[in-house]
């Protein structure tokens, strides 16, 4: 194709491109600055969005760490419930949060067991659901592990850059995109800061005082009731197979000098009742604890850990998370864990 028809390349005549870009950039900066200031003034703070690439960056840091390291795995309960700052203050080690919301941690445990470079401590939050449901949801965990293994250098760099941007600017929060703000305007509502925004270290401090707690609790209970109604009791031999698989992962990690601890974090109210009814402790957790050959901590067994309220039935508020984490670390040290 002759270049003579490359019309896009014919330079348009203008007074000064430099001035034009300067005016445009300054206008954009001024508008974005005002937009940013408006939302900050309304109580918003920068938040990182949880996705596989942010998880992959955290996972990669685990393999790079030599010597002592602490990894937190589980689902949202540990992501909101164990405060990394408290663990660091108590142990001198900054823990890495590898919890995946809504998905079983067992694939992550297996991935860490298969990683020859990992020889640290795993604190695994195990809900009755992950332990005893016939087909627990492992999709997200498996997908994130698969994507993490395939991620190339440019993807890693992109994650760093986009996370840095999100840490800096409130307006990068997806809930404040023009489309979302417009839909709020149409519905006559206001965007709200998420009650559990994610920090760059993937910890999510939950402040239930700013949330519509009735609505959150009601929707969670409805969801859990449906899930429990559909749950099938796990046959004993299948359960023992799962326990054996977990024990094999524990053995591999311990073989390299690492250690694994399984923690049952608190739940309250309807959620607690449902868990007890569908997956009774004596039938699953107690058998698991006897067979797994690792340290296990059930919140009901330790008076210091019992009695924490979960405003939505399943998660701790950040203020309680601080106290709970402190007491849990003390308990683990008392159980002779090398932290």
């Amino acid at each position: 194709m002759p270049l003579s028809i490359s019309s896009s390349n014919r330079i348009i005549r203008t007074r000064s491109w430099g001035k034009l870009w300067l005016v445009a950039v300054m206008t954009a900066v001024a508008v974005l600055g005002a937009w940013e200031g408006f939302w900050r003034w309304n109580g918003f703070v920068p938040s990182v969005e949880d996705d596989w690439d942010v998880w992959a960056a955290a996972r990669r840091s685990v393999s790079r760490k030599s010597g002592r390291s602490i990894v937190l795995i589980g689902s949202s309960r540990i992501q909101l419930g164990l405060h990394p700052d408290v663990i660091e203050r108590r142990t001198g080690i900054r823990p890495v949060m590898l919890a995946i919301d809504g998905s079983s941690p067992l694939p992550v445990l297996s991935d860490l067991a298969d990683d020859p470079e990992f020889s640290g401590t795993v604190i695994c939050s195990l809900l009755p659901l992950w332990l005893a449901e016939t087909s627990p949801d492992t999709g997200r965990s498996e997908k994130w592990i698969r994507k993490y293994r395939k991620q190339v250098w440019s993807g890693q760099l992109e994650t760093r850059l986009s996370t840095a941007c999100r840490q800096m600017f409130v307006f990068r929060y997806p809930g404040l995109s023009p489309a979302r703000v417009w839909s709020h305007v149409r519905e006559g509502t206001r965007p709200r800061m998420p009650y559990a925004p994610m920090r760059p270290d993937r910890y999510r401090p939950a402040d239930f005082t700013v949330a519509d707690i009735q609505q959150i609790r009601a929707s969670r209970e409805q969801r859990e009731k449906a899930r429990h109604a559909a749950a099938e009791p796990m046959p004993p031999d299948a359960f023992m197979k799962r326990v054996e698989a977990i024990r094999a992962s524990v053995r591999r990690i311990r073989g390299r000098g690492g250690q694994v601890v399984f923690v049952r974090l608190p739940s309250t109210g309807v959620i607690r009742q449902l868990e007890q009814r569908t997956w009774p402790r004596h039938r699953y957790w107690d058998i698991f604890a006897n067979h797994v050959q690792a340290v296990t901590v059930h919140f009901e067994d330790v008076p210091a850990l019992a009695g924490f309220p979960c405003p939505d039935g399943s998660h701790l508020d950040v203020r309680d998370a601080v106290r709970f984490t402190d007491r849990l670390v003390k308990t683990l040290i008392e159980k002779k864990l090398d932290l």
């Binding site: 028809i5 390349n9 870009w21 992109e158």
Partner: protein
């Protein structure tokens, strides 16, 4: 590393900075070549080897074809180039498709053949750079150009990062002469180049990804339960999405090349303002359609061998053009339908109408009607392009004729897609004979600055969902 990533922003800033260092032209060309390999390695580093193979084969074939004293030798080297480039394309892009169809064919004659899954990863942009590299050997074989004297320049031609993975497909005769003289963007070139990048990103991130893609995705994810309005809105949304996505990429490519002082050909010229299908293909993905015209259609005989043969040639070209887009039968059928439209249009053009009828058909109103008709048919044909498979395409097309299903798109979506589509079609109609820069020139300086600021603001505020460019899969 896509144009709509922060990594590219960093990468391009470094490349642009290095290109403006006081280095020799040779050194700066080498920098660009190395940067292009880094750009490609961002997807899958081992696949850089494929670029080297394509470069080495066509560089050697070009020289040997020119030096050969006998036609047989020339042909042998050309065949080597064809086999190497199309072989790479065939293995990586069509290997799985061929195997799948072979299994089904054998099953028809009751032979059970169960091969292992091929598990072939498609190297990004392979359809683009193999065609680009191949055109060099073909041009030398046809005596249209002499072999280039610098291997480094040729390597830069094959790998030049702005257009490496999704075009425009550049011809050697257009690009290589630009390597002769030192090139560095002038102030206005840099200003306009950056503006083009900004416009391209706006088309991709805001119009395609944020506005249209979610609607199209929602509709095409549930083809079995669609109502008529939803099917139409989803298809119109895809029609706009694919244009803004691909034209956005091409605009970014042209703009970033211009920032480096290089000129790339246009790839889109207001295609939804086309009157008829031959006009559409002169405006849509121009660098591919001219490639297919020059190296396939004309090689088959073009329109020089009678009406029937012209029709066959058109159909073969469009079927292969469809297959180029993807290893699937629905792409082939999509190409075949466009071939059919071109044949019908050709037949209609051969009818000798009375002068008064011709004058009526050429009135602005009738041209507008034909333009809308062309857009409507092109849009309906996109269904085959977008649907996951043939049965989904069938369901969506049926829904478009009056389906009564669950409502998937909101009233706001309907209004948004309708307004954007109308703006797109009317804009293209108005810009039929104009280029983007001619339109920009007519906009006052202050308004231009405000528009640019508006695009920068929306780009900064757009949600960061990363969607790959549609044409990357080809």
């Amino acid at each position: 590393m896509t144009f709509n990533s922060l990594t590219f922003l960093v990468f391009f800033s470094i490349v642009l900075g290095a290109h403006h260092l006081p280095l020799s032209w040779k050194a700066r060309k080498r920098n660009l070549c190395a940067a292009s390999y880094v750009f490609y390695a961002a997807w899958n580093p081992p696949f850089v080897i494929l670029l080297w193979i394509s470069t080495l084969v066509d560089w050697t074939a070009g020289r040997r074809i020119a030096a050969a004293d006998r036609l047989g030798r020339k042909r042998a080297w050309l065949v080597l180039s064809l086999c190497a480039n199309l072989g790479l394309l065939g293995y990586f892009k069509y290997g799985g498709f061929l195997l799948e169809n072979t299994v089904e064919l054998l099953a028809l004659i009751h032979i059970r053949f169960l091969p292992a899954a091929p598990d072939i990863v498609l190297p990004v942009g392979i359809s683009f750079y193999t065609f680009q590299s191949l055109s060099y050997s073909l041009d030398i074989y046809r005596g249209r150009m002499r072999p280039w004297d610098s291997a480094a320049d040729f390597a830069l031609f094959v790998t030049f990062f702005p257009q490496l993975v999704a075009g425009p497909i550049v011809r050697a005769a257009d690009f290589l002469p630009q390597c002769r003289e030192p090139r560095r963007a002038t102030g206005p070139q840099l200003g306009w180049g950056l503006t083009l990048v900004c416009i391209g990103l706006f088309e991709k991130i805001v119009l395609s990804d944020a506005f249209l893609a979610p609607v199209a995705d929602r509709v095409y994810a549930a083809p079995e339960a669609l109502g008529c309005v939803d099917a139409w809105i989803g298809t119109l949304a895809f029609s706009g999405q694919i244009f803004f996505d691909f034209a956005g990429y091409s605009t970014c490519a042209i703009g970033s090349a211009l920032c480096l002082g290089f000129i790339l050909p246009d790839n889109f010229r207001s295609p939804y303002g086309a009157v008829g299908f031959s006009d559409f293909w002169r405006r849509w993905h121009v660098s591919l359609s001219t490639w297919l015209r020059d190296y396939l259609y004309i090689s088959l005989g073009g329109n020089r061998k009678g009406r029937l043969r012209t029709g066959v040639n058109l159909m073969v070209t469009m079927l292969l053009g469809g297959l180029w887009h993807g290893a699937s039968w629905h792409f082939v059928i999509w190409g075949g339908l466009h071939g059919l439209y071109l044949m019908v249009e050709r037949g209609l053009k051969n009818i000798r109408f009375a002068m008064s009828v011709r004058r009526f058909l050429n009135t602005a109103a009738m041209q507008g009607v034909f333009s809308l008709l062309t857009f409507a048919v092109v849009t309906v044909t996109w269904v085959l392009f977008r649907a996951a498979d043939l049965s989904s395409a069938g369901m969506i097309l049926t829904a478009m004729t009056g389906g009564d299903g669950v409502r998937l798109v909101s009233r706001a979506d309907i209004v948004g897609v309708a307004v954007l589509t109308a703006g797109l079609v009317l804009g293209h109609r108005a810009m039929r004979q104009k280029s983007l820069n001619e339109v920009c020139e007519k906009v006052a300086w202050g308004a231009r600055a405000v528009l640019l600021a508006g695009m920068l603001i929306t780009l900064a505020l757009a949600p960061g969902e990363e969607r790959a460019f549609i044409y990357f899969q080809f």
